[in-house]
Amino acid sequence: MFTINPRVMDKIVKLILWISALLIILILFSIIFYIFLRGWNVMSIEFIFGWPREDWEQGGIFPAIFGTFYMVFISLIFAMPIGVGASVFLVEFTRNEKLINMISTLVDSLNAIPSIVFGLLGLALFVSYLKMAPSVLAAGLILGFMILPTVMRTSEVAIRSVPISEKEGSYALGATRLQTIRFVVLPRALPGIVTGAILALGRAIGETAPIIFLVIMTPAMIPISPLDPNNALTYVLYMLAAEQTPRRIEVAFGISLVLISIVLFLNYTARFINNYLSRNINR
């Protein structure tokens, strides 16, 4: 039986590893490049700020952009106080390891729930049980449920990374626990909490399945009250792609480009804030 010289084998394996990494980067850039190219065809000021015509095939997508932002704004209003509050409790108010582990298991489990199951929860809870019509409030709350684990995880990390010495300094000055949280812990953890909020925002903007029974495509409308129904970018994109014609696919790529640009911008902002945070802590 012949054996390959270990040195040669080493070279071969390294080559394979290089190729696999290159392949992944190639896949990513071809996806981004392709979407950019196809989406650019329909991109214009009117496409972003205009009103849709002919069942979203012509004109702009402004109601969907507005509806998406309104909806994720509500999801953040719901998830941020609860998520940050929960992490403050876990870090500052309890030493009970069992409780912390239990809550962390629950959070991981919630994080693993498939998005379509959240969609069904929305249907069963808001439409079937509470007899609500599709609305920004219902869609926003379901998204809020969904991003809660992300918010809790990231803010817990941020709050845990506040140096103990600073808290001790605050206590040594006679501050109470609440004063320490208010004036030392939260300000110090803020960049990390904001980073987490931005990441959660990026995730909420891109979700389709959780809100699919709670948003509408026609009529195109600007919701004012939280009980008005809204249009959402991802849902319009899905509906255009599901019943495809060449024109609908073009518009769908335009919406994809808008979505990816928003997500890219948010990721970049989160990274920037995160770097700012680590610089601060190393100081």
């Binding site: 270990p6 040195r7 084998m9 080493d10 394996v13 590893l17 696999s20 990494a21 992944i24 980067i25 990513l28 996806i31 392709y34 979407i35 196809r38 609860i82 509050g85 929960a86 409790f89 108010f93 809550i103 298991t105 959070v107 991981d108 489990s109 919630l110 994080n111 693993a112 729930i113 498939p114 379509i116 199951v117 969609g119 069904l120 929860l121 249907l123 069963a124 809870l125 809660l148 684990p149 109470t176 626990r177 609440l178 004063q179 004036f183 990026g202 891109g206 389709t208 399945a209 029974f213 991802t234 994109l237 899905y238 792609a241 696919i249 769908a252 979505l259 990816i260 997500v263 990721n267």
Partner: protein, 293 residues
């Protein structure tokens, strides 16, 4: 700064409120379970559980509901995605953790994070236009909307999970282990094969299981590309999975009907599978950490 004090008993109130917040994730899980079972279980007054899980016919007109085509479709599409993504993902993780020069890391890491940030419906659109055509032409089929198309796009979507968790567990292999191996004259590959991979295996496995859960639960990317024909699946034919049938049929199901109940039962199956996978991966991850230390 103006004077700012809290009354002393307010700390207990704050503590109680924050405690309730901390339980919110559990409360939402509870809501999900309650509503899934409330809307799903009435099915079993008409159709037996075994009959439902092993039945192959799904007919909304005659109210005959068998879940096997969807379960089998989900299993096949996930196996396909793992066959593509695991070798590629673990190789890329090894590359990043062990042999990549600094500049290559600087390009690859953000690229992978970006891959994770693309919305799933955008992946679906890309797959519908590019991968479906590719499959149709390559295999000379009447339609490219096949289980394989779904597996390919799922593989791309779960790569970031496999890579990041594998990389973390490879990097947590103690330096002393590797140095010992190099001191004995091993090459990089011998060290990877004999020391690093066996030590990092629990973490890699946990990542793969987590990715599996994601693939099973993914809806939007899959529904656009697999054709959604109710039948027992094969790679190069149109098929259907648990998530896609729920998405497609829930809109037309009358609330409270047997069809509606059956769709919720599919969601219960989905929920149970994903829940078990999540617990399993967390268990492996928490144990492997202890062993590594």
């Amino acid at each position: 700064m103006e004077k700012f004090t809290f009354p002393s008993n307010i700390e207990d109130i704050v503590r109680a409120v924050l405690f309730i917040f901390a339980l919110s994730a559990g409360f939402i899980l509870f809501l999900i379970v309650v509503f899934m079972f409330k809307e799903g279980l009435p099915l079993f007054s008409r159709i037996g559980i075994i009959e439902f899980v092993t039945g192959t016919e799904w007919n909304t007109i005659d109210d005959v509901y068998g879940a096997l085509p969807f379960i089998a479709g989900t299993i096949l599409i996930t196996i396909g995605a793992l066959i593509i993504a695991v070798p590629l993902g673990v190789s890329c993780a090894l590359f990043l953790a062990e042999i990549a020069p600094g500049w290559a890391k600087k390009i690859t890491r953000p690229a992978i994070e970006l891959l994770a940030g693309i919305p799933s419906v955008v992946y679906g659109l890309f797959a519908l236009v590019v991968i479906v055509n590719f499959i149709q032409i390559t295999f000379d089929k009447p339609t490219g909307e096949t289980i394989l198309s779904g597996s390919i796009i799922l593989a791309i979507m779960i790569l970031p999970i496999i890579i990041s968790i594998s990389q973390d567990s490879i990097e947590s292999v103690p330096r002393a282990f590797k140095e010992g191996s190099y001191a004995l004259g091993s090459t990089d590959w011998q060290t990877i094969k004999n020391i690093i991979l066996p030590t990092a295996m629990p973490g890699i496995l946990a990542g793969i299981i987590l990715a599996m859960g994601r693939a099973i639960g993914e809806t939007m990317a899959v529904v656009l590309v697999i054709g959604n024909v109710v039948r027992l699946p094969s790679f190069l034919e149109p098929g259907i999975v648990l998530t896609s049938v729920i998405l497609l049929e829930m809109g037309e199901a009358v609330i409270g009907s047997l069809h509606y109940n059956a769709l919720f039962c599919l969601a219960i199956i989905l929920f149970i599978i994903v829940f078990i996978l999540s617990i399993l991966s967390n268990y492996i991850l928490s144990r492997s950490k202890i062993q590594i230390r």
